[in-house]
């Protein structure tokens, strides 16, 4: 089996690993935001942080035939917040974002303050699905007094990235992989000669608090006030054993979202994306998601309305510590993003 790694592959894997392994659930994005800021410092024309912690990075100035485009990738991940440490040192918690109890039991967590722990469960009668109230975090403490964590402390899941060759698995592909796509797109744009960068003002927004209700993108979209925009996020697939019937699958290309449970993509934006993918020979697949929401909604509903959509990366096992994506799909998403923002937008 050939195991050559290209420079591109090495750069990409290193970037993915840094981003997915950094802790940062909703409301605690300060570390991941700083990391991303360092990475884009040399290539963005302007960087600022807004009231809810969104990182707004501008590339390009709007020319006569250009548009202000917002591209949003959320940098918060799902996690847990401690609500009480009992007299024996066990920490009870509530979810930050959508957490499935089944993915928790036996899992490991990493707190923002560096503390670590494992998740245990109360005794369960056979056949009963556990609820989050039946679980607790064990940090190895023996009492509330010697606990390294207290009420309000936040943790993310702790799992190293796994490079499987064609595919790669990690926690928080949702949505750190979108930050990867955005950063790779920004790097590619920066490498283009000025004449090939297009007439648009592009705002790459690394948004906060998406997992708890698309909150960061709501205020970021108001600030940016774009003319068109799209989110980059993950989407579920139907390609695993006895899965729900879904059209999306790993390896079929960048997903062009028609709708999810938070918005219906503007049909003009969907056509715009299809045309760009076709013209560049980028493999793509159409996405209809019967669940979930993305930043695309916030862009569509801002002010007097904005034509909006979403490019998705097909992802298995979403909201588990082992989300899995396909590297070719990843490249397709990067190429599609670059193509869309670097040309005149004709809706």
């Amino acid at each position: 089996m050939k195991n050559e790694k290209t420079l591109h592959d090495v750069e990409l894997m290193s970037l993915i690993q840094t981003l997915v392994e950094t802790p940062g659930p909703s409301g605690q994005e300060h570390i991941i935001r700083e990391k991303i800021k360092e990475m884009v410092k040399g290539i963005a024309d302007e960087i600022r942080t807004d009231a809810l912690g969104n990182l707004l990075c501008r590339m390009g100035n709007k020319k006569e035939n250009g548009k202000r485009i917002m591209v949003s990738a959320h940098i918060d991940e799902i996690g847990l917040m401690v609500i009480h440490v009992d007299e024996n040192g066990f920490a009870r918690f509530v979810p930050v974002g959508g957490i499935n109890p089944l993915t928790c039991i036996g899992g490991r967590v990493l707190f923002m303050n560096g503390a670590q722990g494992v998740i245990g469960a109360e005794r369960l009668d056979p056949g009963i699905m556990p609820k989050l109230e039946n679980l607790f975090i064990d940090t190895g403490a023996t009492s509330a007094a010697d606990s390294q964590v207290k009420i309000g402390d936040v943790c993310g899941f702790d799992r190293p990235m796994l490079d499987l060759g064609k595919r790669v698995s990690a926690k928080s592909m949702d949505d750190r992989i979108a930050a990867v796509i955005a950063i790779m797109a920004m790097r590619a744009l920066a490498k283009l000669p000025a004449s090939k960068r297009g007439p648009n003002e592009v705002l790459f927004v690394f948004s906060t608090q998406e997992e708890v209700g698309i909150r960061g993108a709501t205020t970021a979209a108001y600030v940016v006030d774009p003319e068109v925009g799209f989110a980059i996020d993950v989407t579920l697939t139907g390609d695993t054993p006895r899965a729900y019937k879904r059209p999306m699958a790993l390896g079929k290309g960048a997903c062009i979202k028609v709708r999810d449970s938070s918005f219906i993509a503007d049909t003009r934006v969907v056509d715009w994306m299809i045309n760009e993918a076709k013209s560049q020979g980028i493999p793509y697949q159409m996405e209809v998601l019967d669940a979930g929401g993305t930043d695309g909604r916030a862009i569509q509903m801002t002010r007097a309305g904005v034509p909006a959509g979403c490019i998705s990366l097909a992802c298995r096992y979403v909201h588990s510590p082992s989300e899995m994506v396909d590297k070719n799909d990843l490249d397709a998403c990067i190429k599609l993003t670059v193509g869309l923002v670097s040309k005149e937008v004709k809706l």
């Binding site: 019937k245 219906i264 209809v288 569509q300 007097a304 309305g305």
Partner: protein
Amino acid sequence: MTIELVPHIKELLSAAGLSGNEAPVREILQKAWKPISDELITTNGGSFIAVQHGTGAAPHPKVLIAAHMDAIGLMVTTIEEGLLHFTQVGGVDQRILPGQMVNVHGTAQGSDKAQDIPGMVVMPPAHLLPADAPTGVLGLNHLFIDTGLEPKEVERLVRVGDFVNFAQEPMELAGETICGHTLDNRSSVAALTVCLDILSRRKHLWDVYGDATAQEEVFGTGSITDPVAVRPDLAIVVDVTFSKGPGGNGYRSCEIGKGITITTGPQDHPYLVKKLSKLAEALDIPFSLEAAPGPGGTDAYSIQTAESGIPTVEIGLPLRYMHTPVELVSIKDIRRAGRLMAEFIDSLPENFMNEVIWE
């Protein structure tokens, strides 16, 4: 009236125009509203607005009349051996699906080369379903659409994400009623047409924005974004409400054909409810007050809370069998709603907003 109401309603009820893809309805309104408006606008959210300027020097206060034009329907998810699996767009009652005639708006060749392909929703025989499938009503995920075409042909014409509308043709029933799909809420759009038609021949002082809103059945996109574009001083929302009939006789239901409703609840400014009620009495328009304890259910939810807030009131058209392809509405009620709104708007003095206070 400039516009023939029944043909207009039938035309509206024959069009597709699902939430997020309302273009077919915009086309109809483009033609129907052109003679009775000063300006026609398509908003970023996909809504369609007819503007009538008030008489006298600008600026004038503005009223927004919202009637959502989107239809519920289905959307193609996976295609297997030429058979189409689907999900819903808006709240579809899965019990009415088996045997329904539908139209698949196939855009696989490009949106500009779209084709409408007839099909029907079918229920597979029980032995072909997984062991854990329900024995009673089948969920959306177990039904599919059969177009009768060869799989290769289906793949050529249809793609994942294509919109599917109910193909039920509208029909007039007894007692001056009309039935079909999407009377929720195209009957209100027709009422809006009646209103605009009357107003086009009056010298009203206010600017009127007749707004056929988009996506009310799903995410309320029109109701969230249109008020920011228009910035009206007050808003009237007209939507269908529950009528008494088989299966629907709770407190919220009223008789069909016996009048319209004016809603009283958190989404309705009490002064507007009072004014509208008094006017309906004076005009001998039969109506009843509909109690709405909670918010939601119509465009009023988002219109009322747009930016700094907009005084809003809701008018209801009684309808039977909501969200089925055989919804039923009284044509008399459509005329009544249109007339009440027109007379109300025509009566508004320039400084009407000074009266709209909380007391």
